[in-house]
Amino acid sequence: MAKRHVIVGGGTSGANAILTIREHDRGESEITLVSAERPYSRMVLPYYLGRSIAESHVFTLTPPRLAQLRVKTHLGRRAAKLDTGGNRLTLDDGTALDYDDLLIATGSSPVRAPVPGADLPGVHSFWTLEQARGVVSQIREGAHVVMVGAGFIAFTILNAVLGLQARLTVVEIAPQILPRMLDRLGADLVERWLARHGVTIRTGATLAGIEEEAGKKRLRFRDGEEVVADVVIMATGIRTNLEWLQDSGVRVNRGVLVDDHLRSSVPNVFAAGDVAESRDLVTGLPALHAIEPTAMEHGRVAGANMAGENITYRGSLLMNIVEVCHLDIATFGAWDDPTANAFAALQPERWAYRKLLWRENRLTGALILGKADDIWTTNDVGMLKGLVQSGADLGKWKEHLRRNPFDVKPAFIASGTTARLLPQTILGRPSVPA
């Protein structure tokens, strides 16, 4: 009998797992996809919001594609109960699916600030396609949009909101913007840049509640300040979707704990993406990244192993990039490790800042900030990633970078980093387009 794979979740990791299984077996096995939503890419929703792409552009595994890949689907259904002893998944409509192996790829959900009025109509999250549709229909020219939370998700939609000619205020509970992507010096530079582009920033602001007021929303803060908004977007964090795994026997910490083959504590149950707590490439410790590149790699490795390959995963490199008003902000690896040897350089007149973090002569983390069209930025973003990913010993180049932190390229090339990176592939073979 053909092997029966069940994939729970149609996001980045689920889709990559399906494509990788099919790349391996050309259609022999049975694949069933359970997904609460039609598969789409969350990463591109900000471009749909900004109207630079049509809604149809966001879909990944469309019905014809799923048919071509010979994938059975239960779309609009959620997993309700996992019986790992009986190898049976039960869905929220009572359907039972028997499997030989299963992938947990249920992702994460947005969390709203726990204040009165957070669930009023007109207070939006921006996470799912459905929520994106809700925001798209509300933002009009001249509208005042208040974004609660100044984290990565909020920043990915900042350009789109400004592009729609809305007025934007960003409020953040922490004393600085992007607290998980920037240190204080970098945050100060970005705050000045945004002020210059007409964005109002209020940091250290704790929301106390939201009230409806003649079609608008009045946001009250703990310090007594108030702001009136036409549209409120809450981007106050996410949590992993794990509830359905209760009593399943799958070991869970902050996420599903997986080994270097993406297997959970139950050998025929794999986990990938935002729900999977797996090895961080730099620290070697289990980590919950909840980022797109990690979800993609997890999906491919899990898919290959479910298809019968033996692929060992080296671990995920934490990385993020966001562009706001043509200023790039990118981080790699352990960019905020307080125990690392770090040096930073600021060039305020060029809006450039970077921080390099070291363990002996190896770069373990980097933060880079600069104008998107500045040669310092475009030259160095990828090379800093390569230096952290390869863990190359930079020897005397470390001192060079301490003196000239904006001159990464000669260090990258002359340290032979290219040679270290060229043999690296995630699946031990050349990648092919899906």
């Binding site: 980045t12 630079s52 552009h57 973003v381 990633k385 390569g386 000669p410 290219t418 690296q424």
Partner: protein, 148 residues
């Protein structure tokens, strides 16, 4: 730097070396130079990272950006560990070496025949060259820093 001019012209329609996808690095205090561009690596970090499958492999084996698919999210620019994935602010699309469809403009433009387009093993052609031309320069820099 004629390769940068030729490249930017073919790729973007303008002579702007800052938009070239081949970039020349000086070594040993500008006494030698090394042009650096995409190796068309086996992993294709850009290709696998793209959330909308905008990167394909062309008949000549180059990873190429399909502009009608690319949304400009820049994920490929951080996924590529070689720093050879760029972004064109005018088109708001990712920009990389596509080997000019099999007739690279940089090769034609190079006045010293330093760039050749041949079938060869993918390798780090510049690492040893650059390493060889760096130590004296690094030592001189260190000595100068100490003198200050």
């Amino acid at each position: 730097m004629r390769c940068e001019l030729a490249c930017s012209y073919v790729q973007t329609g303008a002579f702007q070396p800052a938009q070239s996808v081949i970039r020349v690095s000086p070594f040993e205090g500008h006494t030698s130079y090394a042009p650096f561009t995409c190796t068309q690596c086996a992993e294709g970090w850009c290709l696998t990272a793209c959330p909308v499958e905008a990167i394909a492999i062309s008949p000549v084996g180059a990873k190429i950006v399909q502009n009608d698919q690319c949304v400009g999210c820049k994920l490929c620019t951080i996924a590529c560990p070689y720093g050879t994935m760029f972004y064109n602010p005018e088109t708001q699309k990712a920009l990389k070496c596509n080997l000019c469809g099999g007739a690279p403009a940089c090769v034609v433009a190079c006045p010293t025949s330093a760039i050749e387009y041949v079938e060869a093993e993918t390798a780090d052609w510049l690492g040893a060259f650059a390493a060889d031309r760096s130590p004296r320069h690094l030592e001189r820099q260190a000595a100068m820093a100490e003198a200050r």
